[in-house]
Symmetry: C2
């Protein structure tokens, strides 16, 4: 029994994500997100009924002003000083807390037989009590309101004087505070951050800057910012004795490993993992330089990347919860239609890789609000309807019209989202919603296969307008149809064999959609091609010196073109979550790890022909796995039961028993 | 043109009311309300489009971190330092603010031609822009987040030593901080507050206490508390040189006056006004000692009391807005079914006495949420349905069963509430809701007259259960039927003539329901009786030394019984808003002031026979009025047009022209 701080579900995440999303700056301009931020409930009642075998003295801490009621409404404990003496026997205890200064009401209770944890109930006094939330905050001295990531000190590896400034190289991409010791009393320091040396030296155009007033002693920047290089320009006689970076990092419960004789593949995996590491913080963020916000579409990819790397489930839950917002739902998540749908799918994906039913139950009330919002935006055929402020993203790609009446891509996501939500509803024991949403999903699927399938072109149309097919023949909806099972068997085969689609239609330009395209190619059995593309695309960035993978990479661009985006010289994020795709693709489709159905253990189906010899340690929904493939010999060690599928064989994996298997195929 | 701080409608009131309701203590126990408190939106965008005739430098202040966009999305002003230079011509300006530490995002903009005010738009980024709210905060130095009432210093009028303590008498009921100057460095002071001397001397049972640590210099209590008497007990050698009360008061824009040759009537009015004054602060509160919360049922009476006294419209608006909460509406206001209905009626009553259409439009979106919530709790006949957590208050009265299926009192309020809401919907130009709610009101009225009218007893039943009349014959529903026009003409006459009801059914015991009973008696023409009851009931409290009117007064109680309530020796609030009833009754039914229909001016119909000679100065919806009645001569001076109705005559009142009329009746 471990005492933890507890709070009203979702409220701490709301506070955290509001603070997290508020760290975007473009030079001196503060830029909070363009979507709605939510408030928290300022007054929460926590309650628990229990039986003590013997007398006890409970420690009760609250973040916020509180009162304590013991054994009945209105039975206040007068003169309460933080410790409550209880006699053996049955008790009901409630603590009513009002948060101060925007802090989330939360409590920490510790006794010999009873502790605050996720079995307590809480209410915002709306007439219902629900299970309180805990997230592992067990230090009574540190309120989760003050949760922040730890830092470690990093010194620059080199410094030189350029353009009247000191240019520091910290050796690696990082998100860091900058601290100066032994400062002069007077003057100021201008800081110019760079993900590239060029950016740090372009004082007029670099994306991130800071100005610090020297007041003697030690001074530090207020917000950690992305950099490897940093120019420091002193003004009005400012001096300092030393500089260091305080690198913000997220401690890991699991350290994934991958090693390969093939050094390119090994390097790609390492850099992808580093990219995932830097973008997996309190929440999954898109890029550490820009825009540092939490986006549902990006985050769902992070949920998958995370499941095959650090397995930071708290970060995944926080991200999904923080994105979910609070009722009433009045606009799409991140204002993007597809992102709302991805969020619904994301909850199910998180569940698949964690089997965390408790979380599904916790988030389900808001999931229901979101589904109801989505359904309120569909017509009788299940076609999504749009409002002027809805952002239909799909993909950054030239020539995709955004003025259709209906989009097959969105209908495919809608089908998948409703199916996922129905499964979650079952877990949350809302059978009525489950049945309704399943029926709705079937309706959407039926209309989709009927209305968006171009029989002559053997693929799904991009969109429909005024009752007719509309837009170019393009890959995005067909990729998604393969991944979501939206096409029927015949359609699926026709898509897979559609030479025009995969050879001649416009190629995918974003790593975001490449994540899905490469996945879809794997699903269609084209793994060899995928491995080549991983080497070409991600290997291409490595060849240009990337230490983390980028938001965007076009091999035809040259020199500084790789740094620019959105019309800004250094607008491109050089460390972007979706750059982590190789970690997911290698683990899921080549090492071949998949979660099994609930309770049935994981499945591993390694690709024995294509992959060079490798060793890996990766997480599983209920444990972890070590695998080594060397010259056709496969050894697997897991701490939970599973199934090894190799060629036509299915071999049971016993927990903590090393399994050695020889592939029957020639390499 | 006056620059004011502006914010997202309702959010500042939400912050204020959360702080206001958090000032209830029972001795050392902090007691926030038992109903839901709402959060605020942490990020708000403010926007305005305008044309400047000449160049200008705008001052832009924000409470919270902000960015400024000029003339287009994403066109951030870099290096913004609080002043924005604008060239002549058309501009769009937006300021996006993220509040910090729970503070409400708000801005203050001042230029030569453009200022922040209620014509700006704002958005919580939910896809819609609505008019921003301003409430007269025009000092750029003081953010409305820091709004607090001013204080004035009051010294004790006497002190004596009793029971090892110093007993101070501050001469009058007040809500005050207590400040000690010249304190010892060490020891502590225990404070025992009393609305009565007896309470201040009963250290074990007085309702309000405080403990202050002496640290030298000046120390002060954290929260103003209700008192006239105060015992101070020094411990561990604590000393101080002087003590004073810092009395929190609400500055008034209008000072009502009433004078009469009849000193009892004059005293009753004075003490009622003092009671209103003390309970009209940032919000209308019920009582200054207990429970210091804002209740819709109490507040609607305060809306009426206020309209005939200080005319503090900002307090009325703040109260209605603070009570309204935010969507989604999941429980009745204050958890009380009748109070939700009273809130809907209260908005209309506020409008009647202010003709403040702008406010009705501002509050309307939440009013619609509340009506929809109410209608979701009615059956097809319009009968209200209840959930286990719903509090059906009606009145504190023995013998009223609370387990019926339907209550005529609530159905009457529902009819009135829907009628009022429909009128507000028209003002807000939501004709669809207006029509729907009118139809709903008619349905409720029809069922009410049919199902709750006891033909044999000539009055409305208390309630129905299992299809039959239920509960005692009682006054409450019949009082409300008279006031709300729920009875048809024949029923109304029968209620008025129902001797059993008005003579033999249980008498009303609460000042709360007396407010309505005396109003109903006036409506039925029984004003002489009402005047007697005012003298008996309120005069009775005066005879017992009341300086403010009480929460409850039973003339048959003796001595200290008058101090106790809720099973606590000093549980009774001795300064309770609804004690102000005489101010309303005298102004509305005897001086006879009523608001006219919109735009048609006020009506005054003074009671020439019953009232002793008097002079009064009172507010009107659009101005103010002076009236003097002396020996049958009536003089009226108003600054707006109106109509004097006297006997059978209707005489136009010209603005700022003294009107002199002789009553034709003998006194």
């Amino acid at each position: 029994m471990k005492a933890e701080w507890i709070w009203y579900p979702g409220d701490m995440e709301t506070r955290w994500i509001n603070n997290f999303n508020a760290r975007r700056y473009e030079r001196d301009v503060f830029i909070p997100p363009l979507w709605q931020a939510y408030g928290i409930f300022p007054v929460i009642k926590f309650a628990k009924k229990f039986v003590l075998c013997e007398d006890d003295d409970l420690t009760i801490l609250s973040d916020g002003k509180c009162n304590v009621e013991l054994d009945g409404a209105g039975k206040y404990v007068y003169g309460f000083n933080g410790t409550l003496h209880l006699t053996a026997g049955e008790h009901t205890l409630s603590v009513l807390v009002q948060g101060e200064n925007g802090r989330v009401p939360c409590i920490f209770v510790r006794g010999k037989e009873i502790c605050s944890d996720g079995t307590w109930y809480c209410s915002c006094q709306d007439g219902t009590f629900i299970l309180a939330e805990a997230d592992g905050f067990s230090d009574p001295e540190i309120s989760p309101n003050d949760y922040r990531l730890p830092v470690r000190s990093v010194l620059p590896v080199s410094v030189r004087s350029v353009k009247n400034a000191s240019l520091y190289d910290f050796g690696d991409e990082m998100l860091a505070y900058v601290e100066f010791c032994g400062c002069s009393n007077g003057g100021r320091l201008h800081l110019y951050y760079g993900e590239s040396e060029r950016e740090a030296l372009d004082f007029q155009h670099c994306e991130l800057t800071d100005t610090l007033e020297c007041k003697g002693g030690t001074i530090c920047t207020a917000i950690p910012k992305a950099m490897r290089w940093l120019s420091v320009k002193a003004e009005d006689g400012a001096t300092y004795e030393s500089i260091r970076a305080l690198v913000e990092y997220s401690p890991r419960l699991f350290e994934p490993k991958f090693d390969s004789k093939d050094s390119q593949l090994k390097n790609i995996w390492d850099v992808a993992l580093h990219t995932i590491d830097l973008t997996t913080r309190e929440f999954f963020m898109d890029g550490i330089k820009r825009d540092r916000w939490v986006w549902a579409g990006d985050s769902v990819q992070s949920v998958l990347l995370n499941a095959y790397s650090f397995d930071d489930r708290a970060a995944a839950r926080r991200t999904l919860t923080g994105l979910a917002g609070k009722p009433p739902v009045r606009r799409h998540i991140n204002t993007i239609v597809d992102y709302t749908l991805f969020w619904l799918i994301g909850v199910k994906l998180y569940y698949d890789h964690s089997q965390d039913t408790a979380y599904v139950r916790q988030i389900f009330p808001q999931m229901r609000e979101i589904v109801q919002f989505v359904l309120s935006r569909t017509d009788t055929d299940g076609n999504m309807q749009f409002k002027p402020d809805d952002w239909i993203f799909i993909d950054w790609a030239d020539g995709l019209p955004k003025d259709a009446d209906g989009y097959s891509y969105l209908q495919i996501l809608l089908f998948k989202a409703l199916s996922c939500a129905a499964l979650c509803a079952k877990m949350a024991e809302d059978t009525e919603s489950a049945a309704a949403w399943e029926a709705e999903a079937s309706k959407v699927l039926k209309a989709l296969r009927r209305d968006y399938w171009m029989q002559d072109k053997k693929c799904f149309a991009y969109a429909r307008k005024d009752g007719a097919f509309y837009g170019p023949v393009c890959r995005q909806p067909n990729i998604m149809a393969v991944l979501c099972g939206a096409a029927d068997e015949k359609q699926m085969a026709e898509i897979a064999e559609n030479q025009y689609l995969w050879k001649n239609s416009p190629s995918i330009k974003t790593p975001y959609m490449q994540f899905y395209e490469l996945s879809a190619l794997c699903e269609m059995g084209r793994k060899k091609e995928v491995l080549c593309r991983i080497r070409e695309y991600f290997g291409g960035m490595l060849d240009l010196g990337a230490q983390t993978f980028w938001e965007y990479y076009d091999p035809t661009e040259k020199g500084d073109e790789h740094l620019s985006m959105y019309g800004r010289k250094y607008g491109k994020s050089m460390c972007h979550a979706w750059g982590g795709a190789p970690v997911y693709l290698l683990a899921k489709y080549f090492i071949g790890i998949r979660p099994g159905k609930e309770g049935s253990g994981f499945i591993i189906q390694p690709e024995t022909n294509l992959m060079p010899d490798y060793k890996a340690e990766l997480p599983l929904p209920q444990g972890k796995l070590r695998i080594e493939c060397s010259e056709g010999k496969i050894s697997v060690l897991a701490d939970v039961p599973g199934t090894l599928v190799i060629e036509d064989r299915q071999i049971q994996i016993q927990p903590n028993v090393l399994l050695l298997v020889q592939s029957e195929k020639e390499k």
